[in-house]
Subunit: 171 residues, 6 copies
């Protein structure tokens, strides 16, 4: 039984994230999906609340017929203390065996804490990128093709694009 | 589709909690189980971490063959601001239709926020009580009969009783 | 021109407070009324929000025909650091010449900071006491005679007694 | 009876702000003036304390013979959580009917909270701007013409320009 | 080379603490003396600031001719999160090999973190106790015999007894 | 008896810092060395923990045969409130007579608080600069010549350069 932990901000959850989740579910019996910076929303970098991001992820994975029993979504608030972050995650999240990340800082922190870390698979990162998708949303350019259908529905339902456009310039 | 939210500290998760969860799963299509005071542990009132409480709940519900797709467990940290608590929960938790509680303060807060609240069913509260179970653990009296088998296994695995006994008097 | 600062929690604002304010307005050209523990509400000790307490004070002083130009009401959040409290108050509040208090800790802190402090006049403290009034509210005993009419109206308008009764036992 | 809320950082309070206040006092029976980011000072963006900003506003409105009974000044500390900001303001500030703002983020947050929001009138924003005034102060260029006389007196009294010049480069 | 860490609140530093320090300096090449709850002061439990406690410890050890090169005093603020406390201490304090404590909670936390912990020697704990000394100070009974001369001088210099007497009843 | 306070982030402690310490030890009987931003680490601006910075300073001063009795190293966490910073430092640090700094903001804050402040001596600031040394570390260029031997050893021991390189781009 292997449990993996994947942490991201998912602003928004996009097709690159979806592919990573699908790939990791082949390697792990269960996947914890940690929604990072959970307390933030309504900013240019973090437009969507943890609740909204949870709904995006769930709707996207449901569409893919990924059983809900295979993964758990957990909000993880920022504590603004890198040296204690791994400890914090271990106390707040369900137990995991290995953390998947491509972020060098997180890789370093997890290694320093003596916990297993593996490089998260990459899926056309130059195409699927939260920053690029938020930019497209801001410029009223097509963004839907980068985002799973379930997440698109959720974002449209709560007016995510209008939200993002209204918060720009306030970071 | 009705989603319910049940918030508790689950220190520890006991048979009363289990019965409530089973009852609510009849009323709701999905249940969010919020682990309150998630950041606290190693105190007399809150001996177990959110991660440990998550494991207790999961193991107990697995034993009952309750499909994991029916519920979602979410850690909820205390923000020490009652007037903003409902707002906080709505932003951090997946969306829910009704909050179940027997706590008068929570009932009041949820009502003041204009959100549906229903009284949580009661199961022999005089028998199944976190306070009583922690007391029994402290006095080396039998506590296992009040706690589902899955949670008992989890508590024993991480030495929960020894933990509790060591932290007494430090609150 | 003398400006005084009077800090209290005003849970609720009662006739003793009103008499103190009236007395101090004879001594000062202007009075700053600081609402302490401003972030707390919905607890047994602090049932009412800063906004509600503001409304109680305003309504009571309006009834007394005390001109609003004579006083300023300022919410003061607790910072849980006694040694820095006076410094905090000086940075957040309008400038004042003397702080009025009967609290020995506040007296000490203000003196250690080298700021003028005078003993606040007393008005039948054994009769007019926040603790006693909250107790009366809890036990459905008459409390209105201890509270100025304006504050009574405000408290009834937002259901303050029901609020207090519902939060008891959750501190 | 209409009460309006106007929130700004007022770093410093300038003639544009003054015109807005005068205009809003025609529309409202009472105006709450919220001093945002109240806990910050001694930075390039936020050089002045809440106490100092309070004094600037008061002195400027006194000069205009605006009765103090028509407005209330309230410090509002940043909570760094956009989704909860409106809730926070409603609990800490006196009750208001409508919030006036030209900030798209605040407009959005207030609308999402179901509270009335109106666009704040504009007064030569290209001329009267906190950023420009702070820049002029830094470069020892004339800034007094953009700031009401009362605020100029207050700023000179506590050495505001020297303060700003000393904190530059430390943000 | 062994470095020990001794954590206490030292409210005040008494003769029992002094004996413990002397004993541990025989076992360790260097001793880190951590002043716990460093941010608190002016309360019944924590009357003295970290700066004042630092001065008490230093004066007492100077009197004993204990070379300052043998120990380092470090203020440790409370983070109110037991599960992360050891991690926090390790990041904020100089490196240590073994933590000395008689507190069961701290013993447990340090063990769970996989760090060496040893029982701190005891010196007539029924006689030398911070609680008892503060009680004596409050009741104007002799307390000086329980406190090293250096600490007595420091406490008298800043009026520690008057401070404590003035803050009672405000916890 | 004069005690000086020198506050820096020491990311890392370099030869310019060492010269300042040596110079100030001629002027003061004792020097408090405050490690600022003590809670931060693992970022591009603040790569090293307080514990690691403590070790760098200690090792460097030991190499110079500076007696440990001449100085005290104290971690100072950021409180993100400039107006209260001096007050905070005075409560958490051992007592000092004069604060040495070349930072205009700190100079201003200390002056406003009525505490003695002197300009810290300068030692080839264009050569010895934390920013430049971190840049050299990042680009795998020689950095050791700017850092005292003791600090170099400490940095190499915990893999400081690799740490810094791994955290870049995450600020």
């Amino acid at each position: 039984m292997t449990t993996g932990l994947l942490v991201g901000r998912f602003q928004p959850f996009h097709k690159g994230h979806l592919e990573v989740v699908k790939e990791l579910l082949k390697e792990c019996d269960e996947l914890i999906i940690g929604i990072g910076s959970a307390q933030y929303s309504h900013t240019e970098e973090n437009p969507f609340t943890a609740a909204e991001r949870f709904a995006m992820i769930r709707a996207s994975l449901d569409d893919e017929k990924i059983p809900r029993s295979k993964y758990t979504i957990v909000p993880i608030t920022d504590i603004h203390n890198n040296a204690m972050w791994v400890n914090y995650v271990c106390n707040i999240c369900p137990k995991f065996d290995v953390l998947f990340t491509r972020n060098p800082l997180v890789t370093r922190l997890v290694k320093e804490a003596g916990i297993a870390v593996e490089e998260q698979p990459e899926f056309d990162r130059h195409i699927y990128s939260g920053t690029k998708i938020r930019k497209a949303m801001l410029e009223d350019k097509p963004w839907e093709k980068f985002v799973p259908g379930g997440a698109v529905r959720v974002i449209k339902q709560f007016g995510g694009v209008e939200r993002l456009q209204s918060v720009v310039g306030n970071d």
